[in-house]
């Protein structure tokens, strides 16, 4: 399937599912603008998990059907304690069932693409072996990367914004949101060089341009 991209043939648009988890959207400074970007794009389905399941009673069937109907799955969330907000964990626990996502007959997600779009409070150099957090962001997200591997999805580097608490004051939100729109559009149009994206530690508005198909050649 990797051959296709060199033929210059325009592929059929991909369907992108954004599963968004933010327990307090009204306080959100970065994720809310990203929400608006994703919500208005063709080919992108945007699910506000906390809105849909305010009591955490996740409808497993409905979520599995959604997964089947999309080619790309994105978890969008603010990083909480080096992990997802709790509803995304609940979502994984319930939806990625034995026999659906893994195990005997569990092939439903194979070949799909998985990606995280996260905002982290700390500055980027905190996420270093020698930094305050000791691990880089990609290492901290290993549980999600391995989840993605186990269910047979293609794991991409996370689209990340660091120092999120001061992003508004530093006027970094618009650029990040524009980058998000660009990323989602590229995923829908299937013009992203997934091999390149998979190798990086993070994706951001600045390095996104170099990850398009043909950009490296």
């Amino acid at each position: 399937m990797e051959q296709e991209k060199h033929d210059g043939v325009v592929n059929a648009p991909k369907k992108v599912l954004v599963l968004f988890a933010h327990p307090s959207l009204r306080r959100s400074e970065v994720n809310a603008p990203l929400f608006n970007v994703a919500d208005n794009l063709d080919g992108v389905t945007f699910i506000d998990l906390y809105a849909e399941y305010p009591t955490f009673h996740i409808d497993i069937d409905r979520e599995q059907k959604r997964l089947l109907a999309h080619d790309v799955v994105i978890f969008q969330f603010p990083l909480y304690w080096y992990s997802t907000p709790s509803i995304l964990k609940e979502w994984q626990d319930l939806v990625l069932e034995y026999g659906f996502a893994y195990g005997t007959g569990g092939t439903a997600l194979q070949g799909k693409v998985f990606m995280c779009a996260i905002t982290a409070g700390g500055k980027e150099d905190y996420y270093r072996a020698e930094g305050f957090n000791h691990f880089n962001i990609r290492e901290l997200l290993h549980p999600l990367e391995q989840m993605s591997n186990l269910v047979g999805m293609r794991y991409l580097a996370p689209y990340a914004l660091f120092g999120a608490r001061t992003a508004v004051e530093d006027c970094r939100v618009k650029k990040h949101a524009d980058g998000y729109r660009q990323l989602l559009t590229a995923l829908v149009d299937d013009v992203l060089d997934l091999d390149v994206v998979a190798e990086h530690e993070t994706v951001n508005a600045a390095n996104l341009g170099s990850m398009m198909k043909g950009a490296s050649e």
């Binding site: 009591t55 034995y98 195990g103 005997t104 194979q110 186990l150």
Partner: protein, 649 residues
């Protein structure tokens, strides 16, 4: 007697025919009434001499209107708008009077005549303007609110004018009149408490009357209303409302004050009362009819003889007056920074003379300030300017507004503050929890209940509530149902609840209706009536008690929670199916059997779901977390094949 019936019939026929036609053509009810009056009066000649008498009677519509205006105005709000009231209203009155007086002086009128003409034309028509604002939903717009403060100021200003005008009396007119009708005047003297009293005593009587209205309204009205409400007789409540308005009007007339102003004051005093909405809906129809009658008499009173004799002069004067008024208002709108379409609404809506103009005209003539010829001429000008006002509103609607609609978002912003209102019908033990949650979250609610003591209780803990029967369309209307976004029905009476839901969903489909059902059958009926969401009143608390029971029996709390959710889901889906069956026909023979059968079936489903083996996850669509099978690690033994669909579980 027959004569009265005939006259009443003619008036009503004219109104019934003309008003709906006028409304259909977008002309507004006021123009409809005016045209009806012209047709039955000057054109066909069905009515004539009695018009003046009827007009006196119909002026009571203005009195009622001011009572209702007062009801809308809480004292706090009145105080808040004092600057606008005095500044805008005062300047409008002063400038217009001065401008009109200037024109009159230019036409060589005596200064006293010029001044009184100025005062007469400074007033605008509260009746036409407020009625039109209500019909067109303009009351809350910027232009509407400013126009309202001007109207209010004018209505108040009539009183000092009535005191002042006799001082302008022309000696030659007085002399002429005295010789002619010195004795007749005695007979026409109206009943009065203050006639013949010295100045200081008159002052005391007037002050005491006003104090009586304020204090009585504040302290006595509530016990009275509660006493009347406890009788449960609707017509007695209507009688009480009428008694109140008529009583105050009578008292004010007796002490020589304006009845309109007295009832306005009473309205303001009662604006905080929990009985406000009920009062409003009781007075409203009388006001509407009487005002209509008033407009008909204005139309019928147009003297075409004089009009055609001096056609150019009268039309010229009318247009001149309206132009001067509009220019003054435009100037004020610039000074007071009224912007956009609001400026034009403000200027155009008030550019006419009003019903108080008629009152002042006859008053000035009676007091020998204006000679009869001028009175007849100016009456026509006042009537014609009122007649032309609906045209100005049409001009505003069709020409001015479209120019502003896409250019600015002013109107949108205006309406937002009234949106989001939730009306709660019935605030017993159930509705008040709903209300508390909503108000705690900043949602504006209007609470209605027919239990006076309940309303009283809620008021004591500062919950805004009104006494009234929510099933009455007029009460719902005054509570603002057409501007509300939602109605929550939590009344005790099942039939009334269903009827209310049916009525509101039919008449105001945009209003979301959430209703509380008494039981299953009522639940179905409410769904059928069109409620957007129905909840059985005891279901959730029973579910809580049930799950508490399970917890007490030692079942793991999280499992209890899961079972509860599962139970509720099955109940919801089964409820849909049972509803379909119920819709099929409650009367039919097989219905009972079928329904019972379905019900038993669902009970079994629930039991099965509760017993469900978690491993057997294909049994039902309702699921929770399930562990993988014991031998699932075998799947991963072969690294190259993470999944193997051939392998049996």
């Amino acid at each position: 007697m027959t004569g009265i019936f005939l006259q009443a019939f003619i008036y009503l026929v004219a109104a019934v025919i003309a008003v709906p036609i006028a409304k259909r053509f977008g002309l507004g009810s006021v123009l409809g009434y005016l045209i009806a009056g012209v047709v039955i009066g000057p054109v066909v000649g069905l009515v004539g001499d009695e018009t003046i008498t009827i007009q006196h009677f119909a002026e009571f519509g203005v009195v009622m209107m001011l009572f209702l205006v007062g009801l809308e105005l809480e004292p706090k709000m009145l105080w808040a708008m004092r600057n606008r009231l005095m500044g805008l209203g005062g300047l409008q009155l002063g400038l217009t009077a001065a401008a009109v007086m200037g024109v009159a002086l230019f036409f060589d009128q005596q200064w006293s005549i010029a001044l009184s003409i100025g005062l007469i034309f400074a007033l605008s028509s509260t009746a036409i303007v407020l009625q039109t604002f209500n019909e067109k939903g303009l009351t809350k717009t910027e232009g509407g609110r400013n126009a309202f403060s001007v109207l209010l100021f004018q209505d108040i200003a009539v009183i000092p004018m009535l005191a002042f005008i006799p001082l302008l009396a022309l000696p030659e007119l007085v002399a002429k009149a005295q010789s002619a009708a010195a004795s007749a005047a005695e007979h026409h003297e109206e009943m009065s408490l203050v006639a013949g009293l010295p100045g200081w005593a008159m002052g005391i009587v007037i002050t005491a009357s006003i104090a009586g209205v304020v204090v009585g309204g504040h302290f006595l009205s509530r016990p009275l209303f509660r006493f009347v409400a406890s009788s449960g007789l609707r017509e007695i409540f209507t009688a009480t409302a009428l008694m109140l308005v008529i009583g105050i009007a009578a008292l004010m007339s007796l002490v020589g004050l304006s009845p309109a102003l007295g009832t306005f004051l009473a309205g303001v005093v009662l604006a905080n009362s929990e009985f406000r909405h009920e009062l409003e809906s009781n007075i409203e129809p009388f006001k509407g009819l009487l005002l209509g009658l008033f407009f008909i008499t204005v139309g019928a009173g147009i003297n075409f003889g004089i009009l055609f004799d001096d056609f150019a002069l009268i039309i010229g004067l009318t247009l001149g007056v309206m132009l001067v008024k509009a220019l003054v208002l435009l100037l004020l709108s610039v000074i007071f920074k009224i912007k956009g379409s609001g400026r034009w609404l403000f200027a155009l809506s008030l550019a006419q003379a009003g019903e108080f103009g008629f009152v002042l005209l006859s008053f000035t003539t009676q007091n020998y300030v204006l000679p009869m010829e001028i009175f007849q001429l100016l009456s026509l000008v006042v009537a014609l300017s009122m007649f032309l006002t609906p045209g100005l509103f049409i001009l505003y609607d069709k020409v001015i507004l479209p120019r502003y609609e896409h250019a600015s978002n002013d109107r949108e912003a205006d309406e937002i503050d009234e949106k989001g209102t939730v009306i709660i019908a019935g605030v017993g033990r159930f509705g008040q929890v709903v209300n508390r949650l909503l108000t705690a979250n900043g949602v504006k609610t209007v609470v209605l209940d027919y239990e006076a003591s309940q309303v009283e209780n809620l008021r004591q803990i500062n919950i805004k509530s009104y006494f009234g029967d929510a099933t009455r369309p007029d009460l719902l209307h005054t509570a603002g149902i057409d501007g509300a976004s939602m109605l929550v029905v939590s009344m005790d009476n099942q039939e009334a609840t269903t009827e209310l839901v049916k009525y509101v969903k039919h008449t105001y489909p945009q209003v979301k209706v959430i209703a509380r059902a008494f039981d299953r059958r009522h639940f179905y009926m409410l769904r059928q009536a069109g409620a957007d969401y129905v909840e059985k009143e005891t279901f959730h608390s029973a579910l809580e008690v049930g799950s508490q029971a399970l917890r007490c029996l030692g079942v793991h709390p999280f499992l209890v929670e899961q079972q509860k959710v599962k139970f509720k889901r099955i109940e919801d889906t089964s409820s849909d199916k049972l509803y379909e069956t119920w819709l099929g026909g409650e009367e039919s023979q097989s219905y009972d059997m079928h329904f019972r059968h379905l019900f038993i079936q669902f009970e079994e489903t629930i039991r099965a779901a509760m017993d469900e083996d978690h491993m057997d996850r294909h049994g039902l669509s309702e699921r929770e977390w399930t562990p993988p099978p014991k031998d699932y690690l075998d799947d991963f033994s072969d690294e190259s094949k993470p999944t193997d669909s051939e392998k049996p579980v």
